[in-house]
Amino acid sequence: MSTTNLGSYKEAQSGYIKILVGLLVLTTVTFVQPHMFLTDMNLGIQLFIGVVKAYLILAYYMHLKGETQIIWFAGFSLFIVAVFFIIVIGFDVANFQYMDESHITQHMDAPHASHATH
């Protein structure tokens, strides 16, 4: 790491600031999007923006560019997390049995009504 080429300070600094601007713009998009476009897939878009931001941070702020070994490891870890998601959410919850009869899946709009009783 101490062997990496440092380049000039000015250049690096302006690189950092460019990334910051990018991230700020993305954050703004985050705020505008729900009111402007693709509102019916809100969370998806939001998460997509999150992924882009994460990429910028990882690649530039965390100096991951060119670190082949660490990228492989990180990919592996993320893959494992993804597997957990796919199995638990995709295989189990998506096939939740006896959902309608179960207590924990009830959508209780009732509590608002019970306000009146007191």
């Binding site: 870890s77 957990f84 295989f91 189990d92 049995q97 924990i104």
Partner: protein, 553 residues
């Protein structure tokens, strides 16, 4: 006389330069010393858990309450399970032999972060003390079983929070050990030693370290969530707040299934060292053994749901999990065949470590194949939470991991202490253990199939006979264990002195200048341009000049 790592002043310390032997041990950062300290502590806990197990066996000797009540029994098996799992078997092989021999095997002077290693050891001690502290405070030790299932763990009055905190701390220790070993294996291998020149034990440790690193955090956070829920009344797993207890089970087993491979893989590593050494020939299928460790670790991440076949999880998920579970058995099988064929056309020397290894092949085959039985969904619906499962996992853990730990103990004993135990006595202890173990656990398969549920403190009279045979086994087993430890402990002081390579083995940990090894291991780091188990006509091929560590063959 040359100095060994056990002598005064032969250590580096985390803080300062203490003068007394006591502080030099407490503050040591030397991997070999830390490994030895782990061994001492871990075996102490093993005996505590074993004593609880024995108490349970006594209680189960006949139906009805013998000498403890239901609640005490519930705390007993929780204590037994928690100690055996979190304090004994998970740190077991990695913390003891991973520390003592892994750096030697790759020709390193120490692990990558020696101070972190020291810190980890004390973190482990802290966790252990926190766990034990709950024995004497409040309502006593947790009574949840080692699985801590919600909502039971959220509602019981016993000291569950303490136990959860302890398990969390122990998890951290496990993560840090894994992290340290991963960096060590990646960075500190002797020049020339690429991944496919590493001894197989190092492969086992490597695969294990990944599991420690990438599964333990899941249980860590699950325990934290349970603690927060219990303490602040947050709704996460509590069904009265809409939480789903099955989610807890998922999160728990996401870790705890890979954890069983975390236990067995380094133990398999020990097997892969012992078999070629005492067959006096190269190992069969080096690459397949190495890669099967990795693939067991990988597939192990996908199969946790086989603990949830009756949990109320979706049927679709049950089928998928069952399907995936079978695939762990295949790389395991490959390993077994490789070991057996390592003996083909070798020269089998039945030393004590070899006996333990061969014994384990028998017991783990039973343990593993019964694992396959309960991997079949329909059959497991009948067998889940019965003694069949209990027998399966004792065959796997005790007859697999612990037996191999003992094998390793006998194998590396001359390395650690520079002395030998009495082989005749040690072999006698092995036979006692082996017989006792099988008498203890085999009847439980039958009781389980007939419907004896686990975690029962009292049972129907029909099952009495099985529990009584089992008790007899336990007594034989005790005798064996006590004999074994007696033989070993006596040898530490009085055993016959032996040289650095007592077994005529090939891997680097045997090529040391003195026995026991000196402070910074090999005199110089060797260049590794050979395979780990090169024998020719029963003799190690590679020879070193121990002063310069240059090959002289």
């Amino acid at each position: 006389m040359s100095k060994s790592y056990l002598d005064l002043d032969q250590t580096h310390c985390a803080i300062g330069h203490p003068k007394t032997a006591f502080w030099q041990w407490m503050l040591t950062v030397d991997h070999k010393r830390i490994g030895l300290m782990y061994a001492a502590v871990i075996f102490t806990f093993f005996f505590v858990a074993v004593a609880t197990a024995f108490a349970m066996r006594l209680e189960l000797f006949a139906p009805g309450a013998q000498f403890m009540d239901g609640d005490t029994f519930n705390q007993a098996f929780t204590l037994h399970g928690v100690i055996m799992i979190f304090l004994f078997i998970i740190p077991g092989v990695p913390a003891v032999f991973g520390n003592i021999v892994m750096p030697l095997m790759i020709g390193a002077k120490d692990v990558s972060f020696p101070r972190l290693n020291w810190f980890t050891f004390w973190l482990y001690i802290t966790g252990a003390l926190v766990a034990l502290s709950s024995l004497w405070s409040g309502e006593g030790f947790a009574d949840t079983g080692w699985t801590f299932y919600a909502p039971y763990s959220l509602t019981t009055n016993t000291n569950v929070i303490t136990t959860l905190v302890a398990a969390f701390i122990l998890g951290m220790a496990s993560i840090l050990t894994g992290l340290n070993f991963l960096v060590t294996i990646h960075r500190l291998r002797a020049p020339g030693m690429d991944f496919f020149k590493m001894p197989l034990f190092v492969w086992g440790i490597y695969a294990t370290a990944w599991i420690q690193l990438l599964a333990t955090p899941v249980i860590g956070i699950t325990l934290v969530l349970a603690i927060l829920e219990k303490y602040f009344g947050i709704g996460i797993f509590d069904p009265s707040k809409g939480g789903d207890p099955v989610l807890f089970e998922h999160l728990f087993w996401i870790y705890s299934h890979p954890a069983v491979y975390l236990m067995i893989l380094p133990a398999f590593g020990i097997m892969s060292e012992i078999i070629p050494t005492f067959s006096r020939r190269e190992v069969f299928g080096y690459r397949t053994i190495a890669l099967s460790s990795a693939s067991i670790a990988g597939i192990g991440y996908l199969v946790w749901g086989h603990h949830l076949y009756t949990s109320g999880m979706a049927d679709t998920a049950k089928v998928i999990f069952s399907f995936l579970t079978f695939f762990v058995a295949i790389p395991t099988g490959i390993k077994f065949y490789d070991w057996v064929f390592t003996m083909y056309k070798g020269k089998i020397i039945l030393t004590t470590p070899m006996l333990w290894a061969l014994g384990t092949i028998i017991t783990f085959t039973i343990g593993g194949l019964t694992g396959v039985t309960i991997a079949m969904v329909g059959v497991d619906i009948h067998l889940q939470d019965t003694y069949y499962t209990v027998a399966h996992f004792h065959y796997a853990m005790l007859g697999g991991v612990v037996f191999l730990l003992f094998a390793g103990l006998h194998y590396w004993f001359p390395l650690m202490f520079g002395r030998m135990y009495n082989e005749g006595h040690a072999k006698f202890a092995f036979y006692l253990n082996f017989i006792g173990f099988n008498v203890l656990w085999f009847p439980m398969f039958i009781a389980g199939y007939y419907g004896m549920p686990r975690r029962y403190f009292d049972y129907l009279p029909e099952f009495e006979i099985y529990h009584q045979i089992s008790f007899v086994g336990a007594v034989i087993f005790i005798t064996g264990l006590i004999t074994m430890f007696y033989v070993l402990i006596r040898a530490i002081k009085n055993g016959e002195k032996v040289g650095p390579n007592h077994w005529n083995a090939t891997t680097l940990e045997w090529h040391l200048p003195t026995s026991p090894p000196p402070l910074e291991n090999h005199t110089k780091v060797p260049y590794v341009d050979f395979m780990p188990y090169e024998y020719h006509h029963g003799q190690p091929v590679v020879k070193f000049d121990y002063e310069t560590m240059k090959r002289i063959d």
